[in-house]
Amino acid sequence: MYVYNDYDQQLVDDRVEQFREQTRRYLAGDLEEAEFLPLRLQNGLYIQRHAPMLRIAIPYGMLASNQLRKLADIADEYDRGYGHFSTRQNIQLNWPELERVPDILAELAKVEMHAIQTSGNCIRNTSTDQFAGVLADEVVDPRPYCELIRQWSTFHPEFAFLPRKFKIAVNSAASTDRAATRVHDIGVQIIRNDAGELGYRVYAGGGLGRTPVIGEVVSEFVEEKHLLTYIEAIVRVYNQHGRRDNKFKARIKILVRAMGIEKFRAKVEAEWAHLKDNDSTLTGAEIERMKAHFSEPNYEDLPATDPAVEQLKADSKGFRNWLERNATEHRVPGYTAITLSLKKTGVAPGDITSKQMRAAADLADRYSVGEARVSHFQNLILADVRVSDLPALWEEAKANGFATPNIGTLTDIICCPGGDFCSLANAKSIPIAEQIQRQFDDLDYVYDLGNLELNISGCMNACGHHHVGNIGILGVDKKGAEFYQISLGGDSGLDASLGKILGPSFNAEEVPSVIEKIIDVYVKERTEEEEFIDTVRRVGIKPFKEQVYA
């Protein structure tokens, strides 16, 4: 886990004072609303339907237990006792008072946290795979590279007023992409070239929102040390040439499309030629310094399996189910990564109470080197759990509402706050998630359906990533009434694709039965072992359409 040095601490402390002063001037009437807007946004502060919303940065999803406890205290003291994990690994508070936000930031700074650049037209939190560092098929641990990007982008003086927000994701796994890098403004895929040298395949121009686009390759291979200068070249080209006349056409995806990837690449390469090997080029010492922050915990030499665990697996279907869905293979024998599900039916996906935050912090301390991670899928992960601890952890996870054994299934829904909280919404999204979870309450059936990503957004801003859900649900407004458009075939992984719209939209009551029909078609059409997405890709959306609109 990255630990602040004096400079890092000074920077967040300075920021607290800066924002305190800005808030004071705003409240005193010395700063106009429009002028305060970008300042507060660059501190993660939105004004929402009911109250301000504060988005706190969790760099690439990493949380130490003391940070989780601090978040719990803040949620109790300054909010309504809960928070909401976002799809970009951050956490949001839905009810803070503007006047008290500087105090919240001061509290955060005490545990090396902040809300810098969690919103606004600047470079946002860098995200990555929640299993970084423990995956067997990872090229290297991506977190040191994420931290390098974080520091480079923090208060970057040139890139704080970009045409639009700018999101970077890094993936280092060879066979999966849990960070949805292909739908980011810049996607960094860590690879080795044929000579075995470390570097990056760099994508640009991905994004969701009202014009969803899969990113294109800008460079097939950028050497390890050129990470920051290459990104700088891309962002500089974007800052100069991205559209500023229409905010719906301002993302880099529109620029890349308009220029064409060839021309865009040529511009980036021309800019980069000036930067290559300058002082921003990474040194071996700097890369090593970052890596040292993410060094391996002292893993013990453990047997891969444990007799008591095997016994419980044989005896308890519940335990088996939980392991089947919520455990992820760890590269070190005798360890496993456990996902604490925040997708319990009846609770807004990604919501967590302060009590749960404290419980998770305790679990992290006792079972997983004092760290937890937030996933893009809005769950919490304990990445370094001893296999022999699994029965005890299972009991505690159940007691704290974390053990819903649904990770990666139809009911592990990604969902935006929607009409319950968000002033931009066309429709509510949280109740739709709940209806679907209730409809599919038969666990055996849900398991049988296997991996299936269902994503819901309350409007075309696509905070819930509906375009890249295997099943996507989008809230639309039909003459003032809330309706839902359904798409099939989206995928946020390595083989990213955008869903295709099934047809005319449905009202809220119809949605669960429509999903049921879609699932029926899958069950009928699938070949053995075929996942939902593969069936959709093979048979197309026609059979689904015929069934749903029959």
Binding site: D8, P157, Q240
Partner: protein, 164 residues
């Protein structure tokens, strides 16, 4: 009257800002639009008084050439404070074209942007009406740590620490 900061001090603005239609006077300090500058570079050199160039936000560093070094000041306009192109233009003027003269931010700039503006290479700020330069001076350095390189800090923090 808009107030002016030059090199971290409150200064008096001696320049007149001319539009394309305005005739360029033979004397006195003026800042002329880029098209005028490009069309009349030589005659502008011959005039009595200082002459600067005014870049609109869509006029980028790549639109400039060597003659920029003859300018007494380059003024980069921010039509709206959210339009951040000028930050890159300034960076490129300083680092690519190696322009050493006065670089002035004009237009709709916020006092809270002065820090970043200064970092990318501006050393002069013509503040919008009603924004006090004295307050601006207080806000020049709200953050004391700079992670990344820019015009004011050619070497990123990690290299400074490595060589310290």
């Amino acid at each position: 009257m808009p107030e002016l900061i030059v090199n971290r001090e409150i200064a008096t603005d001696t320049y007149r800002y001319l539009t394309e239609e305005d005739a360029v006077p033979a004397t006195g300090d003026v800042i002329v639009p880029l098209v005028v500058w490009q069309a009349q570079a030589d005659s502008l050199q011959a005039r009595d008084g200082r002459t600067g160039v005014w870049l609109a936000s869509d006029q980028l560093a790549e639109d400039l050439d060597e003659r920029i070094h003859q300018a007494d000041v380059v003024a980069i306009e921010f039509p709206k404070f959210v339009d951040g192109r000028g930050f890159s233009t300034a960076y490129l003027l300083r680092n690519r074209l190696n322009y050493q003269g006065e670089l002035r931010a004009i237009g709709d700039i916020l006092l809270d942007q002065l820090f970043y503006l200064q970092r990318v290479g501006f050393n002069a700020f013509l503040l919008p009406d009603g924004k006090p330069a004295a307050k601006g001076l207080e806000l020049l350095e709200p953050i004391s740590v700079r992670y990344q390189a820019s015009t004011d800090t050619p070497c990123p923090l990690f290299r400074q620490l490595e060589s310290a």
